[in-house]
């Protein structure tokens, strides 16, 4: 039986950078450095004289260029004309198929009695019902119970909970799983969320879905573990570097922790963008009534995913656009998505129709404010609560309607005016120049505004703080 003849090397000078690594590899001295600059590349390619070549192949092994020294297959070389290399090889279509969406399924659930669970648990169960089976996190009070519940439940659902080495690692595990097209989430709290912002920027740039439940706590720095609305500015205007935005949801009850977590996954995939859920420490720890939904989701695989199979082989997850015009076009595209997200603005207006005093609050302070509104009504004061459910996009149309007849606006928050800044920005962008001077009830450091303080502000009394 004749041995199959080994191919000798062949080189298109255009693809040779003249590094000369092949020279050493050739025992027969077939290869020399030329002194002719190639007019197409400006480089000096090597020259082959294959008279003594025994087709050992070592020169091809030494060539760092995939299209550099290659085996000369019969009939291949001779036909080439040395011109534009794109024409030489032609555009061969990849064998990888054109991916299509594998849609998610909606599966009905039997009607059940309400659960009595804490906010973080409600969020975790919401995530499971939204089809999330991949949760990554790093323990941080007061969000940890969410991760703990996932660590307990996910193995029983053949899902994955990984405790990462840091929040930086956790968000990048999310980047991987989201890149594969699957729902993923984390539970964190303010200092941890700060660490994740690098990854959030990458996810936005690479258009990846993912849900971040940030149970906000007192800051800055290590601060404390008590509730504060400390990350409104981060979520609304500081999601890492670049032109970034993400829908930011602000639940105020354990029920909303579940409902808005489920919504977050839906929106996250709809827009291929992260969604942030801002809770406060009280809400995370608070136990309340939670009614489960009537249906759950079995996720599919979107066509853009890099799942690691033939269908998705041609895909790329990346936030790199090296050419300025490409990156500008990408930013224009992202900004168009942010515009489209504005249709997702949500708010609750409680007794605002005839309100003289509109109080604005979200999260747990919104509940306290609701209590205050009711007591003020009992005292004959026409108070109302405007509660933004999306902090970004801010529900400015609903706000306009809520404050329509108001003489006074009071922003109640557990921060130094982060919510008020959102209100002001939203009004300003909506071209509303004339509105009552904003009053405020603010606590910080882990203290939530008390109902008595809110009442006192509205009633014009000085409240002595405990």
């Amino acid at each position: 039986m004749a041995l199959k003849e080994r191919p000798k090397p062949f080189l298109l000078p255009e693809y040779c950078k003249g590094c000369g690594r092949c020279l050493d590899a050739c025992a027969k001295d077939c290869i020399t450095l030329s002194d002719q600059i190639n007019s197409l590349t400006g480089l000096v390619p090597v020259e082959l004289d294959l008279t003594n070549c025994n087709a050992c192949g070592l020169c091809m092994d030494a060539c760092p260029e995939p299209y550099g020294l290659r085996p000369a297959h019969e009939g291949e070389i001779q036909d080439f004309e040395l011109e534009d290399p794109a024409k030489l090889f032609g555009v061969k279509p990849s064998e990888a198929p054109v991916p299509v969406d594998l849609p998610s399924e909606v599966l009905p659930l039997p009607r059940t009695e309400p659960l009595v669970i804490k906010g973080t648990y409600a969020s975790a169960i919401g995530a499971l019902l939204a089809g999330c089976r991949h949760v990554y996190g790093y323990p941080i009070t007061p969000s940890t119970e969410g991760a703990e519940l996932m660590a307990k439940f996910l193995p029983k659902l053949d899902g994955t909970f990984l405790q990462a080495v840091s929040e930086v690692a956790a968000v990048n595990m999310m980047y991987g799983t989201a890149g594969a097209g699957l729902p993923t989430m984390t539970f964190t709290s303010s200092p941890g969320f700060s660490l994740m912002l690098e990854g959030v920027s990458y996810m936005i740039g690479s258009e990846l879905p993912g849900v971040f439940v940030d149970i906000m706590r007192g800051g800055p720095g290590l601060g404390n573990i008590a509730p504060e609305q400390s990350d409104i500015k981060l979520a609304c205007h500081g999601l890492g570097h670049g032109n970034t935005h993400a829908i930011t949801l602000a639940p105020s009850t354990p029920q909303e922790m579940l409902d808005l977590t489920m919504l977050a996954f839906e929106l996250s995939f709809k827009y291929r963008n992260p969604v942030v859920i801002l809770g406060d420490g009280y809400l995370g720890q608070m136990t309340g009534k939670v009614q489960l939904p009537e249906a759950m989701i079995k996720p599919g695989i979107p066509k853009w995913a890099v799942y690691g199979d033939a269908m998705h082989r041609r895909n790329l997850i990346s936030s790199i656009f090296l050419t300025e015009s490409d990156l500008e076009a990408h930013n224009v595209h992202l900004n168009a998505k942010y515009e489209a997200m504005k249709t997702e603005a949500r708010a609750e207006s409680f007794l605002c129709d005839d309100a003289e005093v509109v109080l604005i609050a979200c999260n747990t302070p919104a509940r306290t404010t609701k209590g205050a509104v009711q007591d003020l009504r009992h005292q004959g004061i026409r108070a109302g609560l405007f509660r933004p459910i999306t902090l970004w996009p801010f529900p400015v149309e609903a706000l306009k309607a809520a404050i329509h007849g108001a003489d006074r606006i009071v922003v109640v928050e557990a921060s130094a005016g982060q919510l008020e800044d959102e209100v002001r920005l939203a009004l300003s962008k909506a071209g509303i120049r004339s509105f009552p001077e904003l009053e405020s009830v603010r606590r910080m450091g882990g203290v939530l505004p008390q109902q008595s303080e809110i009442m006192a502000q509205v009633l014009g009394k000085k409240e002595v703080r405990a």
Binding site: A86, P110, V306, G308
Partner: protein, 477 residues
């Protein structure tokens, strides 16, 4: 060697494949990356896993790995490639995930991710290109830069103030997670053959589900070493290799273990985990206990960690919700897990709890003297205070409109043989003192909470009954 079919026919992503860039890499002449790429592509080809492969491009010179590999591609933030790889691997355990990283990425900014992922041991393959310099940013000192080697940030040579070179292969091999660690080089034909084999083996071990592998490749960077490619090969051999000895650092025989079932999406399984049930609880309330408050009752339970205040609070909330009311419970703990303060704010509302905090409760249950002293004065006029008279010798002066019930929670519980049921004694006392819910409502909540510890139900029922009796002995509500 033939161009592997794993390399794109045309580099569409490289400057839109304009001109030469359609078929030439972005690497400098003589760069080791191209060889490592070719060997990796060959391995993927040989193993027949092109469709399953996900390559993670790092930050560094190989950031554009995805220009060349016709596989699923994901580009990671600087240093994060191994954890991005894990995210892909756990999303699809059938995928073959390659984390390809340079020395700045892997051994500096991503060190935590590198070590933690290696120790996790999940089957991924890490190809580590060590060329002793930062290439992409222009020749700065790398964690792997040799002592004395000059770079733009160690212009007079790396000295003791800049630390020692990181020997990653040895570090990784020293961990328990990885199964295969080898350092290879590219400077001559013999080394290239070894490098090819090592890379293929590292990928194969992943394909077989055996574990994590790490291949460190000593590579040439002629541009930043300011040498010809030939000189660089010599430099790697003569200067790098003594510091970074080649060879297998770890090679364990491990049976395939990474087998994961597809995730479960059975609704009933999730409902069962969540403890959800379709059974309607039996209701005993005639209506909202308006004798306590028209729409919303505010309670506070206060004691030390371990008193059971939180459990009792939860049981009140559960009882209320079973009766069709709304309820909330906010726990507040001191910094200590045990023995610190432990307060619980509970609200029970006819329709919706508006304000879940209880700064001025209508009902206070105090498990010790400091709690009674702290919160007793905050109780609203006409409210109710129940405290553990076993541990509180002297009650503070409270508003005369407040009904006060000293009940020996601890004494009764101890007599029953289990001090931990003192919170249930307190619930019995609460029931008798306030009539917040019918007895059966409370007992049902207690029984449901103990459904996995049925043997404890009689004891708890007895404790509850004793709480009631104690209040009745005081003259009742």
């Amino acid at each position: 060697m033939s161009k592997s079919s794993v390399i794109y026919d045309k580099f569409e992503r490289h400057s839109h494949a304009e001109g030469l860039k359609g078929h030439a890499t972005h690497y400098c002449p003589g760069c080791g990356h191209g060889l490592a790429h070719k060997f990796l592509a060959e391995a993927i080809d040989n193993l027949g896993i092109q469709d399953r492969t996900v390559a993670i491009s790092p930050v560094g010179c190989s950031v554009f790995l995805y220009y060349y590999f016709d596989v699923g591609n994901s580009q990671a933030a600087h240093g994060r490639a191994p954890v991005v790889a894990l995210g892909h691997k756990f999303a699809n355990p059938e995928s073959v995930v390659i984390s390809y990283q340079g020395d700045g990425d892997l051994a500096s900014i991503g060190l935590a991710e590198t070590i933690a992922t290696a120790q996790l041991g999940a089957p991924i393959t890490v190809v580590f290109i060590n060329n002793a310099i930062y290439g992409m940013t222009g020749g700065q000192m790398a964690p792997t830069t040799l002592m004395g080697q000059s770079s733009s940030t160690s212009p007079s040579g790396r000295n003791e103030y800049m630390g020692q070179p990181m020997k990653m292969a040895e570090i990784i091999a020293g961990l328990d997670g990885p199964i295969y660690v080898e350092r290879v080089a590219l400077y001559d034909a013999k080394q290239r053959i070894k490098a090819k084999k090592a890379i293929q083996k590292a990928v194969q071990l992943q394909v077989e589900g055996r574990g994590y592998s790490f291949i460190e490749v000593l590579a040439e960077c002629p541009t930043h070493l300011k040498m010809t490619p030939e000189e660089t090969e010599k430099w790697v051999k003569e200067c790098m290799e003594p510091v970074y000895p080649l060879g297998v650092k770890k090679d364990l025989t491990v049976d395939p273990w990474f087998k994961r079932n597809p995730p479960c999406f059975k609704g009933e399984k999730i409902l069962s985990l969540a403890g959800a049930t379709s059974e309607h609880p039996v209701r005993h309330c005639e209506g909202f206990p308006t004798h306590l408050a028209p729409h919303d009752i505010s309670l506070k339970l206060a004691g030390s960690g371990g008193d059971g205040a939180q459990t009792a609070a939860m049981l009140i909330a559960r009882a209320a919700i079973n009766e069709g009311f709304d309820a909330t419970h906010i726990p507040s703990y001191g910094p200590e897990s045990r023995g610190g303060t432990s307060y619980a704010d509970v609200h029970v509302a006819e329709d919706e709890v508006l304000n879940p905090g209880s700064p001025d409760p209508q009902v206070l249950i105090a498990f010790n003297a400091p709690s009674l002293a702290k919160f007793g004065p905050a109780v609203r006029k006409g409210g109710t205070v129940i405290y553990d008279s076993s541990v509180v010798s002297e009650a503070p002066e409270l508003d005369p409109s407040i009904k006060v019930f000293p009940v020996p929670f601890t004494g009764i519980a101890t007599d029953l043989g289990k001090a931990v049921v003192k919170n249930i004694v307190a619930l019995g006392a609460l029931q008798a003192a306030t009539g917040i819910f019918p007895r059966e409502t409370m007992l049902t909540a207690i029984r449901v909470a103990l459904k996995d510890k049925c043997a404890l139900i009689p004891l708890n029922e007895e404790a509850f009954a004793w709480g009631i009796k104690s209040v009745e002995a005081l003259g009742g509500n």
